[in-house]
Symmetry: C2
Subunit: 279 residues, 2 copies
């Protein structure tokens, strides 16, 4: 497995690869969710490149950039275990050697859901992903459905800008109790961790109602809200949003159809947890 | 010579090319300036692709999108004469099949010079050029120094986003009397056309002063302003800007150094003419 820290070396390496290149962009602190993306890439591609880069431009001024968990030695072992061919592990100066004037922004759909609480987040994501795509030049890039809005935004960017890259979205990987895997779960204290599966549980409840014929979005949101407020004490958590929408334009729906998504974000302790389900 | 109208066909064609691909993006109505770019591409590359696309998103609401001169049959003959391998000639629906949510923007340096009068112009340019780069995937792309700010902005975009494309800027091609070639020169009436070489003449005068030791930017700008106002009657023309700046950050300079640029824009009749010189 190659470990490459500079853009120039990565571009050189890329000239030696043959066949399809699969790319898994990550911020490190890998978990089974990331491993499932590597596995999907391994199955479809001749060469698998994982990037590990905690991108400062996607964190807001009061967010957790400094606290974000990092453990490269552990990540390296996990990549080796996942038969990854190459880790791209640049530092911040390598990715942003001077004032970055260029921004890639997706309008409208980035202002909803997480974009309301994190107004500059997606612009940081799309810009760094565009940079990484140009550096790695993959055939297929893999993203997790856990960050559903992110995957919709990146798909849109790739299509709008005519990028020659297929975007694949892989299913959410969960802990045994249903909590969606996330690097930010490490922020949770014991009692918070116990409360955290309420996101998934509420989504399952909503799904059950929809399958029994309930298609009123407000009613379903109300059920989710009540379920969370019942189970999470105000001292440890509060709801950021619960939204039901179509997965292309992230437009609110009033009458739910198959293929619509329910997404939610809940602050629990120091973590802001997100989860979603496509009906 | 191939004429290709769809993105899918162009991507297919691109898989059949061998060696270096040179790309000349244009809005058509080709003149000797464009031909010099094709010639430079022909000399350096195995394959030369010219795009002809009058990009609506780089025109402001009150600008000349509808009036912009178009003559594809003439352009085709000129490309054939220039030994171009392929013309990419998409229509607007091909390039923008639905609401375009994604924007590529270069901050700060796009708000100066022409950006003051044309605030959304460069965002339209960088977005369409990023799209064209992703479609054509050239090794080298050729731009004219006549649009100096555009070439600085595009270079910056390519560098910031780590695009694997070399940007080459070719010298301005001029009419015998010094007027920089431009598709918009066709808007000029006879008396306006006679006045138009004043841009070049003023730049030459400024260059002469600088070479004689004058490095005060305000004095040089004043000389240019006086020269233009002497020779162009108020009824047919007025100055948009005269600026002296460094060519990386487009920052104003007070004391001129070698390598700085002087650029100006003058409305003459219905045309907004631009010209520049690098000292």
């Amino acid at each position: 497995m190659e470990i490459i820290k500079t853009i120039e070396e990565l571009k050189k390496y890329r000239k030696t690869t043959e066949g399809k290149v699969g790319f898994v962009p990550t911020m490190g602190h890998l978990h089974d969710g990331h491993l499932s993306l590597m596995k999907a890439a391994r199955e479809e591609c001749n060469n698998v490149i994982v990037s590990i880069f905690v991108n400062p431009t996607q964190f807001g001024p009061n967010e957790d950039l400094d606290a974000y968990p990092r453990d490269f030695e552990r990540d390296k072992r996990l990549c080796e275990g996942g038969s990854v061919d190459c880790i791209f592990y640049p530092d911040v100066d390598e990715m942003y050697p001077r004032e970055e004037l260029t921004i890639v922004r997706v309008e409208r759909i980035t202002q909803k859901l997480c974009g309301k609480t994190r107004p500059t987040h997606f612009q940081g994501v799309t810009t760094v992903v565009a940079k990484l795509f140009n550096i790695v030049q993959p055939d297929i890039a893999y993203f997790g459905q856990k960050d559903l809005q992110q995957s919709i935004v990146i798909k849109r960017m790739a299509e709008d800008l005519n990028m020659d890259i297929k975007i694949k979205v892989c299913p959410i990987v969960r802990e045994k109790d249903g909590l969606a895997m996330s690097s930010r779960n490490s922020y949770l204290k014991e009692n918070e961790r116990k409360a955290a599966p309420v996101l998934y549980e509420s989504l399952q409840k909503a799904k059950g109602l929809f399958e029994k014929g309930e298609n009123n979005a407000d009613k379903i949101k109300e059920t989710i809200r009540n379920n969370i407020e019942d189970k999470v004490k105000k001292e440890i958590g509060n709801i950021d949003y619960i939204e039901i929408f179509d997965t292309e334009n992230i437009d609110d729906v009033k009458k739910i159809k198959k293929g619509n998504a329910i997404a939610l974000a809940v602050f629990i302790g120091k973590a802001r947890l997100i989860d979603n389900i496509i009906l």
